[in-house]
């Protein structure tokens, strides 16, 4: 019986057919991760266009209209094309292996949720070639009406592609929930699950709850644009601020969709390299759940300047400040995990430690942004840009890169090049800080975000930032080199890649068989 299964296991189509028709969680995980990497470069290139234009005052490279297309697409591509698919890639590869399941619960749907994405992004990016009809969407990724009502055909393409990305995310989330709740190996109780699995379970519920809300918001935009409705048109009895409420009711949980799986990744990496169990496992789970709950009642802190009533501003200020408590618990737990461990600093650990340190900078500036009167000065300035890049680049992206280094030997069966990995880390960390730290000062000194040209007193910090962005961008080519060379060969990785690693994935060979855990493992 076991031999029969093993024989069946090894069989799959080869060539392009394998990738188009695959229902295997590892293949689909690989597709997601490679797609995310590609989009990371597409979005990064757009960022470099933005930074090049901002190197000096005056207009040098692009028109303001094209500049706005770049800021809009950069955000959409990075959020929906790079970070979210990367996390789904990790979920696909790791969740079945970490809970002792043979595959995801809904493998055909899994294939579909991935293959929607390339079409969605083809739609979105094709607008760049429609400059004669207004080009790509240019009203910001937040798509605020009435500005987005003015947009050209690119806005309609963006709406359609957002619908597709939403469907893909919801299907992925359903799959994650079904897998985690139904396919754990006997003995793997919920409170024994690795933290990455926990954070993804909670993230999946957030996705289910808010992606339909975004779909609703953009559908209302579409009907306002083309079918004569006036949801957001004040002249027709509508309300432009309604869109912002609906959008941020999606948007704030979305922020945690982008960071909770990162918390999970870091919570796997730090104990491994500290050779010490995760400190406060259950408080980590409860903190994650509290953050997820709070994320639903803080959305209007993105809208403090729209003129909310005083009581509303106070409520959203207090609720937002509360998020600092569970987030603080997480940071303290990570540091306590490191405390009196026996640490080594391979590349995954470097990214994880940098994550804890730099993400906290973004967390603290987030706390500052919650203070309404001060927010009136910070809102829509580069201070906000600095804040969300500290949580998204040194937060989400650093965790993704750390996670990739952590499991690359498991996935490919080869050790990656540690020297190149360390170079990648240090250049990324230096480039990242050089790019985004000066933005705090720019914002405080009064530079609004989303402007293609600026007053002279902002010149120096913008130049630092542009130099940093190019270091950050080109450093990522090292990562491509590391990944490609690990796929092609290198020192053989054992089952237990890292001395201190614990979990079911390390009981499998590296690379794991095409179908792992055809017989459920026993959990003590």
């Amino acid at each position: 019986m076991t031999t029969a299964t093993a024989h069946h296991d090894a069989h799959h189509p080869s060539g392009i057919g394998r990738w188009l028709t695959t229902t295997n969680h590892k293949d689909i995980g690989t597709l997601y991760l490679l797609f995310a990497l590609m989009m990371f470069f597409v979005g990064g290139t757009m960022a470099l266009v933005i930074r090049s234009e901002l190197f000096e005052p005056g207009l040098q490279i692009v028109t303001p209209h094209f500049f706005n297309q770049m800021t809009t697409l950069h955000a959409l591509v990075m959020i929906f094309g790079a970070v979210m698919p990367a996390f789904v890639g990790f979920a696909n590869w790791q969740i079945p292996m970490m809970i002792g399941a043979p595959d995801m619960a809904l493998p055909r749907m899994n294939n579909w949720s991935f293959w929607i994405l390339p079409f969605a992004f083809t739609l979105l990016l094709s607008t760049l070639f429609m400059q004669g009809q207004g080009g790509a969407p240019s009203g910001g990724w937040t798509l605020y009406p009435p500005l987005s009502i003015q947009g050209g055909i690119g806005t309609d393409f963006a709406i359609l592609s957002i619908h597709m990305m939403g469907i893909s995310s919801v299907l992925g989330a359903i799959n994650v929930i079904a897998t985690i709740l139904n396919m754990r190996a006997p003995g793997m109780t919920l409170m024994k699950m690795p933290l990455f699995v926990w954070t993804w379970l909670i993230t999946a519920f957030l996705l289910l709850a808010v992606m339909p809300v975004l779909a609703g918001a953009v559908t209302m935009l579409l009907t306002d644009r083309h079918f004569g409705t006036h949801f957001f048109n004040a002249a027709g009895g509508g309300d432009p601020v309604l869109f912002q409420h609906v959008f941020w009711f999606f948007g704030h949980p979305e922020v945690y969709i982008l960071i909770l799986p990162a918390f999970g990744l870091v919570s796997q990496i730090i104990p491994t390299f500290a050779r010490k169990p995760l400190f406060g496992y259950s408080s980590m789970v409860y903190a994650t759940a509290s953050i997820a709950f709070l994320s639903f009642i803080v959305w209007a802190h993105h809208m403090f300047t729209v003129g909310l009533p005083l009581a509303g501003e106070l409520f959203f200020m207090y609720a937002t400040m509360l998020i600092a408590v569970p987030t603080g618990v997480k940071v303290f737990n990570w540091i306590s995990t490191m405390w009196r461990g026996s640490m080594t600093f391979e590349t995954p650990m470097l990214f994880a430690v940098a994550f804890v340190f730099l993400f906290t900078i973004g967390g603290l500036s987030g706390l500052m942004l919650a203070i309404v009167p001060a927010d009136f000065q910070y809102q829509d300035t580069y201070f906000v840009v600095a804040h969300f890049h500290y949580v998204l680049v040194s937060g989400a992206v650093f965790a993704i890169l750390g996670g990739a280094y952590y499991w690359l030997p498991k996935w490919t069966g080869h050790m990656y090049n540690e020297t190149a990995g360390k170079w990648h880390f240090w250049l990324t960390a230096i480039g990242m800080n050089l790019t985004f730290f000066p933005m705090h000062f720019l914002g405080l000194a009064g530079m609004p975000r989303r402007i293609p040209d600026y007053a002279l007193q902002f010149t120096q910090f913008n130049q630092w930032s542009t130099v940093g962005a190019f270091i950050l961008g080109f450093a990522q080519l090292i990562f491509v080199y590391v990944v490609v060379s690990a796929i092609r060969g290198g020192a053989k990785a054992g089952d237990q890649v890292w001395e201190g690693a614990e979990g079911l994935e390390w009981t499998l060979p590296s690379p794991p068989p095409y179908h792992s855990f055809a017989v459920a493992p026993k959990i003590k």
Binding site: I361, P373, A445
Partner: protein
């Protein structure tokens, strides 16, 4: 070589961190860079700066304490130093402590924030009311009590933006008609938007408020020092978002009264102009200026527009067809569906002379050669 560099990295990094620390300790080094808020000139802006400094310091102290633990651990608890891992993974007392203490710190931050916020939202007992309307891409200031209304538009020449001329010290922060306020008076503002959402922001006044079509937001300002304060639109409002600055001139009550009288006189002269017959040369000269401040933002300085979004005027049917159609388009707007943006109605923004001048200019520029001269009386007839 790369290996030795990597081995030396900790040293390099610690020196970098030290350098950064020194940078903070000696802000004079970075004085010309502008690293914190601009000098506040209203009571509210002062309160905000104090609040900001307080939270910033609390955050920095927390950060330094928390991460001194982490970095101590990173340096001391290393396998390479032979440190053996401890086994602990829970400590209820500790976990309660680090949940309760942050909560108390948050409460201590929330109290002064609440007080400031309540103070900011009290717009009662004001001495003067000013209405602000955001347009793509300029501001309109109306003083309902004084019967004054005017537009405020960027004056930075296109040549400076395109790097063909040396940039002025107030590059992108200069306007034709600044907002004028009396010093020491509580001024209540009503702010709204005409087309899309804008945001009126002057850092030194401590105010940022969105200008939203269909909504009227309120705030108040009391400038305590005379001076010129500059700001910008803070909400993305299209391609001209970076080019609609705000300039506020705070003057003594005496100068303010003089300014009001002068503005009123100007308005009388303006309205007299709409009854006389203008020469082609005068209309063209006036039209060129008015076009630059009112129309060029969308239709382009060269009248070429943006394909698919804003129509070109060069050779357009409206600008070369019947004069009445052209006047109606300018006054009442137009939406054909061929372009994604729609032409707004300018009847409220342009007086008869400016509208006539713009139309004359458009019909005889960018290669359009209709030879028409449009008089203010023709505009008046079609209002």
């Amino acid at each position: 070589m790369s290996i030795t560099l990597i081995k030396r990295f900790p040293g390099i990094i610690s020196r970098l961190i030290l350098g950064l620390g020194l940078g903070f300790a000696a802000p004079a080094v970075f004085a010309e860079y502008g690293m914190n808020f601009q000098k506040p000139v209203t009571p509210v802006a002062h309160e905000i700066l104090e609040l900001h400094n307080m939270i910033l310091i609390i955050c920095l102290v927390i950060f330094v304490i928390v991460f001194s633990f982490m970095f101590y651990s990173v340096f001391a608890h290393r396998k390479s130093r032979g440190f053996k891992a401890a086994k602990f993974h829970d400590n209820t007392t500790l976990e309660i402590v680090w949940t309760v203490i942050p909560f108390l710190i948050l409460v201590s931050m929330a109290i002064p924030s609440t007080a400031t916020l309540i103070d900011m939202s009290d717009v009662s007992h004001s001495d003067l009311t000013v209405r602000i309307t955001g347009y793509q891409w300029k501001w309109q200031y109306t003083y309902p009590g004084q019967d004054i209304s005017f537009f405020s538009t960027l004056t930075t020449p296109q040549d400076e933006i395109e790097n063909k001329a040396k940039k002025d010290a107030h590059y992108l922060l200069e306007v034709d008609n600044p907002l004028v306020l009396p010093v020491g008076k509580k001024v209540r503002f009503e702010v709204t938007g005409n087309d899309v959402i804008h945001s009126w922001w002057v850092p030194q006044l401590g105010i940022k408020k969105d200008a939203i079509p269909g909504f009227i937001n309120q705030f108040w300002v009391r400038a305590d020092e005379p001076g010129t304060y500059r700001g910008q639109c803070a909400e993305l409002c299209g391609k001209g978002h970076g080019f609609m600055p705000i300039v506020v001139r705070a003057v003594s009550q005496e100068d303010f009264t003089k300014w009001v009288a002068m503005e009123k006189k100007k308005a009388v002269v303006e309205s007299a102009g709409s009854n006389k017959t203008w020469s082609r040369g005068d209309l063209m000269a006036r039209g060129q200026k008015a076009f630059a401040s009112t129309c060029a933002a969308c239709h382009g300085a060269e009248g070429k527009g943006i394909p698919g979004v804003f129509p070109a005027l060069a050779g357009s049917k409206v600008a070369t067809g019947p004069v009445d159609e052209h006047i109606k388009t300018v006054l009442h707007g137009r939406h054909t569906g061929k372009y994604s943006a729609q032409m707004p109605a300018f009847a409220a923004q342009l007086n008869d002379v400016d509208a006539a001048a713009i139309i004359t200019f458009e019909r005889n520029s960018f290669g359009n050669k209709t030879g028409d001269v449009v008089q203010p009386s023709q505009v008046k007839a079609l209002r």
